[in-house]
């Protein structure tokens, strides 16, 4: 710790930081633009000027930019110095010379960092009496709106987009006061993290185009903390609603998970909430096969009646439903009649991952820890498409090793431009073994394209080189050479990381990744292992239940009633199998929120709430339990799945004393599974109050509440109550800073933009006050380091099939919910079969022509796409783009050219 003096007040601070972040951490309001905690300092905007003094005797001082000033012992600065104050005011005056006076019609208004800084610096009177420069705007795709006239040239957009996220198609053009930020020509922004421009831009240049379609001011949104439901990473989000529809998603800062950012799937995938095929009310199938809408009470009664009259009721849960909903179903149908809703293979893989992560010594990293690793081996995952934010973390990780050089020449890590100039394009070791070219290749050291079994072979070989006790497998020389190279890299690394997952649908890969991580751990106990799983609650679902879908689908037992929870079974198994299975049951009760193939088979359809409309817990790929809250209460006909199931159970038992509420359900759930005990401490209970108040979901500036329904009734209706959470649905309640897990928005006096996050952190860029939300339920065990998988691995690797199917994930397109969002649908590829150039030549088909595949007695015809670097003999099938995506990888496949 060192001492610095700010306006003669002494502060003890950590060395090695810059003065701006230190001042902000200390609570000073020092304005800035070009600096961002995740991007570091470049000194461009000159907004954070302070007076710096040589020593205690220096009365004159000199202006200095706080963001570029390293804090050293006895540093003396003044924020309040009149010249510094005037200079900061003048910087805003300069920026305002060309900034339009369109706050009233600007989407950023009310949450604009430029507005905040303008007020903070005190600039109000315009002395510039010339014309403003103007620009033309560009079409940037379905997600981002472009309004260049508002630009204040802080350069944060290109620094995020290019330097942080690896984008190539956004740049700064021209010079002087007409520097332009955009693409070389109009077109969809190519980078999967483009949505962060909305939050990175300090003003209204890049705004959320999906939000614009149903725009609402920040202060008029009802918001609640939520968790992204679109992949297994579990990014924290703030979801906003008005007039009963979800309006937008923002990143909710969590230093261990997503930090300041989100991927575009997470940010723009919310539009499915307003899909025209939302199931808005419960309905019952008539004998004619049509559906009749019924009330929720009738639906509950009907379900109870069906269940009471059934001998055997089977419940099938879902990895995209909350733990609570799954548990409610399990409770209703009894433990022995409940199945996880995940297929055998996937279930087995996830189970194995959990075994590895909780019984061995290698631990699984947070996303923040991933960004700190200095050597990364990816086995079979196309991260940009399967766990996008993990890909973003890997982009930061490859800079770790080269960044060491900056330390050697005394360039502080936060001096971003200088660090980048020093290390240039150099990247630390990243090896990717995948069936095809992946998007991280622009930063990789080496790539290995192979079928998933051969990828496993590579990992087994590296493991054996690192530790002779690890099983040896027979491989060819090329693979051995690569394995030797990677082994050497792992030996030299300080923080090596192995990433694998279930995306290739190859269980052997999990074993191989484990062997590699264990062998590496023997050399270096800082080794980390991360697994990607398919869905937001895949981990939680497998932690909760051992019985998987195939066990019931393949059984010949008689089923009277099937209850399906938020699960489109047609995405799990092939059509015939599921049709046969569903036809076995007399009653099929389906709870879901979007129409899909399964809901069309329901005899009783119950309208569920989406993630944003529900409260619950998901467990992410690292085993972190995270709570999400209902943003708003949808119309009466829709209920959370757990509530439906609770009410049905109450009706079945016809016991008026049963209470159906969240707290009772949670208590029951936690007491049912010892592995969930910690969930009790995840977030404050529903009864939590601050100064006797609930936490308000609406801001204290929320407007129009007496007018918004005046067209229906002049008297304001009674607000909804929320007995299930510590939140109120209205602006009545606490507006300060609640505990992080129940923080519905970021705001602080004078800080209306997302930059107000500064005020919620213990120190800038660090954990939130009271700790980041989320609790790890899976932790590694010390000791036991050398448990190697050894059973028949050689035979499994050498098992040859004529054609191996490899799933190909698409960030936009794979994901049954996100692809129902309009913007994402626009960017989803057309269905295709991916084959290698070699196979295309052999079959004599060109891109755009079709092939026919025969599998399991069914045949499918589809256009082909040649997939870069896909080895011959592999067939890449886009996940969830068509029904054939449910074909498992193990079947024999015949491919022929389809006649036109």
């Amino acid at each position: 710790m060192i001492n610095i003096f700010v306006d003669n007040k002494r502060h003890e601070v950590d060395e090695g930081k810059n003065l701006l972040e230190v001042c902000l951490s200390l609570g000073y309001d020092l304005p800035y633009f070009c600096w961002h905690p995740a991007l570091g300092s470049v000194g461009a905007c000159r907004q954070c000027a302070v007076k710096k003094y040589k020593d205690a005797d220096d009365q004159e001082g000199k202006l200095s930019m706080a963001c570029m000033e390293p804090v050293v012992d006895n540093l003396r600065v003044s924020i309040a110095d009149p010249e510094a104050v005037l200079f900061r005011k003048t910087v805003v005056e300069w920026l305002m010379t060309n900034h339009p006076h369109d706050c009233a019609v600007c989407d950023e208004g009310g949450e604009c960092h430029l507005q905040d800084m303008t007020v903070m610096t005190g600039h109000n009177y315009r002395r510039f009496n010339f014309n403003k420069r103007t620009f033309e705007n560009q079409y940037l795709g379905p997600f981002i709106n472009h309004e260049m006239n508002r630009c204040i040239q802080c350069y944060r957009c290109v620094r995020f987009y290019k330097d942080h996220a690896g984008g190539k198609d956004l740049d700064a053009f021209a010079s002087s006061n007409h520097v332009y930020f955009g693409r070389a020509k109009d077109g969809v922004l190519e980078n999967e993290f483009s949505g962060n421009l909305v939050e990175i831009c300090p003003t209204g240049v890049f705004t959320d185009k999906t939000f614009k379609k149903h725009y609402t001011r920040k202060w008029d949104l009802t918001t609640a903390p939520s968790i992204c439901e679109h992949c297994s990473v579990g990014c924290n989000t703030i979801v906003g609603e008005r007039y009963g529809s979800i309006r937008r998603v923002l990143s909710r800062y969590n230093s261990e998970v997503n930090g300041y950012f989100l991927c575009d799937k997470g940010r723009f995938g919310y539009e499915y909430n307003s899909d025209p095929l939302r199931i808005n009310n419960p309905s019952i199938k008539t004998n004619e096969g049509t559906y009749n809408a019924i009330s929720t009470d009738e639906a509950v009664q009907k379900a109870a009646e069906i269940i009471s009259n059934s001998n055997r009721v089977i419940g099938i849960g879902s990895p995209r439903a909350s733990l609570e909903a799954n548990h409610a179903l399990k409770r209703l149908v009894e433990v022995e009649n409940y199945y996880s809703g995940i297929d055998r293979k996937q279930h087995g893989m996830i189970k194995r991952m959990q075994h590895i992560l909780s019984n061995y010594a290698v631990s699984t990293p947070t996303l923040a820890e991933i960004s700190e690793c200095d050597a990364v081996i990816i086995l079979g995952e196309d991260l940009t498409n399967t766990a996008p934010m993990m890909a973003l973390a890997v982009r930061q990780a490859v800079r770790q090793k080269p960044k060491e050089k900056a330390k050697e020449v005394n360039i502080p890590a936060w001096q971003d431009a200088a660090v980048r100039e020093l290390i240039q394009d150099e990247n630390g070791p990243l090896y990717i073994a995948a069936p095809f070219a992946t998007k991280l290749e622009d930063i990789s050291t080496g790539n290995h394209y192979a079928d998933p079994k051969q990828i496993a072979a590579l990992a087994f070989s590296i493991a054996h080189i690192l530790d002779e006790d690890a099983p040896k497998i027979s491989t060819d020389d090329d693979l051995q050479t690569l394995a030797t190279e990677i082994a050497q890299v792992l030996k030299e690394a300080k923080n090596p990381l192995i990433i694998s997952g279930s995306s290739c649908a190859e269980p052997l890969l999990i074993e191989a990744a484990s062997n590699l991580a264990q062998a590496c751990y023997k050399q270096n106990s800082d080794t980390k292992l991360s697994f990607v799983v398919p869905e937001c609650n895949s981990m939680g679902q497998v932690m909760m239940e051992d019985k998987f879908l195939d066990e019931i689908v393949d059984s010949h037992d008689k089923i009277d009633t099937l209850i399906l929870l938020e699960n489109d079974l047609f995405l799990r198994k092939d059509r015939k199998t599921i049709e046969n299975f569903l036809s076995k049951a007399q009653h099929v009760i389906v709870l879901d929120h979007l129409e899909n193939t399964t809901t069309k088979m329901a005899t009783l359809l119950l309208s569920s709430c989406t993630t944003a409309e529900s409260q619950g817990t998901y467990i992410n790929q690292e085993g972190r339990a995270q709570r999400f809250y209902q943003v708003f209460k949808p119309e009466e006909e829709k209920m959370e799945s757990w509530r439906w199931l609770g009410l049905i159970q109450k009706a079945v038992k016809s016991d008026p004393h049963i209470t159906v509420n969240y707290e009772t359900l949670l208590t029951d759930m936690v007491s049912s599974y010892p592995q969930f005990e910690e969930i009790n401490h995840l977030a404050p209970p529903p009864g939590f109050r601050i100064a006797g108040q609930k936490i308000a979901r609406e801001s204290h500036r929320y407007s129009g509440r007496t007018a918004m329904h005046a067209n229906e009734s002049i008297s304001e209706s009674k607000p909804n109550e929320d007995p299930d959470s510590p939140f109120s649905f209205t602006m009545e309640g606490y507006h300060g800073k609640p505990p992080a897990p129940i923080n519905p928005s970021f705001w602080s006096p004078g800080w209306n933009s997302v930059q107000s996050i500064n005020k919620y952190q213990i120190e800038i860029g660090g954990p939130l006050h009271g700790g980041d939300p989320g609790i790890r339920l899976i932790e590694s065990k010390n000791g036991n380091t050398s448990q190697y998988y050894n059973d028949g691995i050689n035979e499994k690797i050498n098992q040859k099939s004529r054609t191996t199917i490899v799933p190909k994930h698409h960030i936009f397109g794979s994901g049954e919910l996100s692809k129902r969002s309009r913007g994402i649908a626009e960017l989803s590829p057309e269905p295709y079969f991916g084959i290698s150039k070699e196979d295309a030549d052999r079959l004599n088909v060109n891109e755009g022509e079709s092939i026919k595949i025969q599998v399991n007695g069914s045949s499918f015809i589809q256009k082909i796409k040649i997939v870069d670097n896909l080895p011959a003999g592999l067939l890449a099938i886009p996940v969830e783009l068509e029904e054939f995506s449910s074909i498992s990888g193990d079947e024999e496949v015949d491919i022929t050219k389809a006649e036109p």
């Binding site: 202006l63 040239q153 700064a172 100039e421």
Partner: protein
């Protein structure tokens, strides 16, 4: 009088061939230096008091001495010659580039040897087409003669020299902006520290020197530090200086004179004095980004220390004269328009402040000035000062403006009061 830099330049201005250059003693300094330690070369240059001729005036040898040397130093280092001569009124390097490119190349070999750089670049202004041809040819000759390439003159020292023709922005003349441009990036300046000597071109230790500076080096090595120091009239500063004069004088041009020659001598003797009917009103002594000197300063020595004492800078040593028939506001508008246009757009004060000052000056010149405009101009001269902006471009741009507001304020006021330009 000793004129080491220009004495051999031919009257037709055509470049000396390798043979012609060798006849004048060319490349003897390289032969001599290769027998010395690199550090010794640096020491001699340091002792010679050769100050950077690009405008900043920093001791060249001292600059070189910050480059990490020895076995632990990075293997790759670079020597870069800044031939992006774009300072308004400045045309001194052009003479050396066109007339004697081998002298520059020899200086670069010596500098590269001193810092042990194996790759060197000449970063040339796009418009200097004649110079480009001459340099290209000279580089070819030097390679063929074994002065460049692997194992120079049988030593273990290697140097590969490349000519890079820039597309041309004023910013490229700023040494770190130049490095970014050379890397193929936007010509934005870089923060210092780290200095280019530590992290320069492609993140490697790099020296960027001006053409005139580098052209002095062979003569220093050949004749010694003391000889070079003695060339100067001024104690503590070494060498001759290329002085230029533009404006309404009888004989505008460029002359190599001892450093510390007075402004009076340069204007009255070498430039032939003011043209008939024109009075000297003021002068920018070292290019557009230096403060005005006025009649009171007519007798000062144009060296680094005296010019600085008089409130200006020697800069590039090329004088722009303001006469009594020319409107100072118009001159300033022209200059500030140039600087505003050449701002790279990186930092706010420069990007937004310079266009604002140019607009105000235009308004005043056109008779649309307002009383508060002078206050705004004053504010800009203060807040666009050194340290407040990211690099030296805007502070340089403010030097002629702040001094014009000091010496010619009445002229500005007259414009505003009369709502017209008194010179029109």
């Amino acid at each position: 009088m000793n004129k080491p830099l220009t004495q051999h330049i031919k009257s037709d201005g055509r470049a000396l061939s390798l043979k012609e250059y060798e006849k004048t003693g060319g490349y003897q300094a390289v032969r001599k230096a290769l027998k010395m330690n690199p550090e010794e070369v640096t020491e001699i240059v340091k002792a010679s008091n050769l100050n950077g001729r690009g405008g900043a005036g920093f001791n060249t040898g001292a600059k070189w001495s910050f480059v990490p040397m020895g076995d632990d130093a990075p293997k790759q280092k670079y020597m870069v010659a800044n031939a992006d001569e774009m300072e308004p009124g400045t045309f001194k390097d052009r003479l050396l580039l066109e007339g004697n490119p081998h002298q520059l190349i020899e200086g670069m070999i010596l500098g590269a040897y001193a810092i042990q750089a194996s790759v060197a670049y000449i970063f040339l202004r796009w418009a200097y087409k004649t110079a480009a041809g001459a340099i290209q040819l000279a580089i070819k000759e030097a390679y063929e003669a074994g002065y460049l390439g692997e194992g120079i003159l049988g030593s273990k020292f290697n140097l590969n020299l490349h000519l890079h023709t820039s597309v041309g922005r004023y910013m490229c003349g700023e040494e770190t902006g130049l490095l970014n441009a050379l890397e193929g990036k936007r010509a934005q300046p870089r923060a210092k520290p780290p200095f280019p000597q530590i992290s320069g071109l492609f993140g490697k230790p790099t020296i960027v020197n001006n053409i005139e500076t580098l052209s002095c080096v062979p003569h220093i090595i050949n004749n010694g530090a003391k000889w070079f120091k003695d060339l100067s009239y001024t104690e503590g500063e070494g060498g001759t200086k290329l002085y230029g004069v533009s404006g309404r004088v009888n004989n505008p041009g460029l002359w190599e004179l001892p450093l510390g020659t007075t402004m009076r001598e340069i204007i009255d003797e070498h430039a032939g004095g003011m043209k008939n009917g024109y009075q000297f009103k003021g002068a920018l002594p070292g290019g557009a980004s230096t403060d005005f000197l006025v009649t009171d300063h007519y007798d000062i020595k144009l060296d680094y220390s005296s010019t600085s004492k008089a409130g200006s800078r020697l800069g590039t040593g090329t004088i722009i004269i303001l006469d009594d028939q020319t409107c100072p506001v118009g001159l300033l508008h022209n200059l500030e328009h140039f600087f505003a246009q050449e701002s790279c757009g990186w930092c706010t004060p420069c990007r937004e402040g310079l266009p604002w000052t140019a607009k105000i000056l235009k308004a005043i010149e056109e008779g649309n000035g307002r009383e508060e405009d002078l206050e705004l101009l004053d504010m800009h001269t203060r807040f666009l000062g050194p340290g407040n902006t990211f690099c030296a471009l805007a502070p340089g741009a403010m030097e002629p403006l702040q001094s014009a507001l000091k010496y010619f304020r009445a002229d500005f006021e007259k414009h505003i009061v009369e709502k017209r330009c008194p010179w029109r």
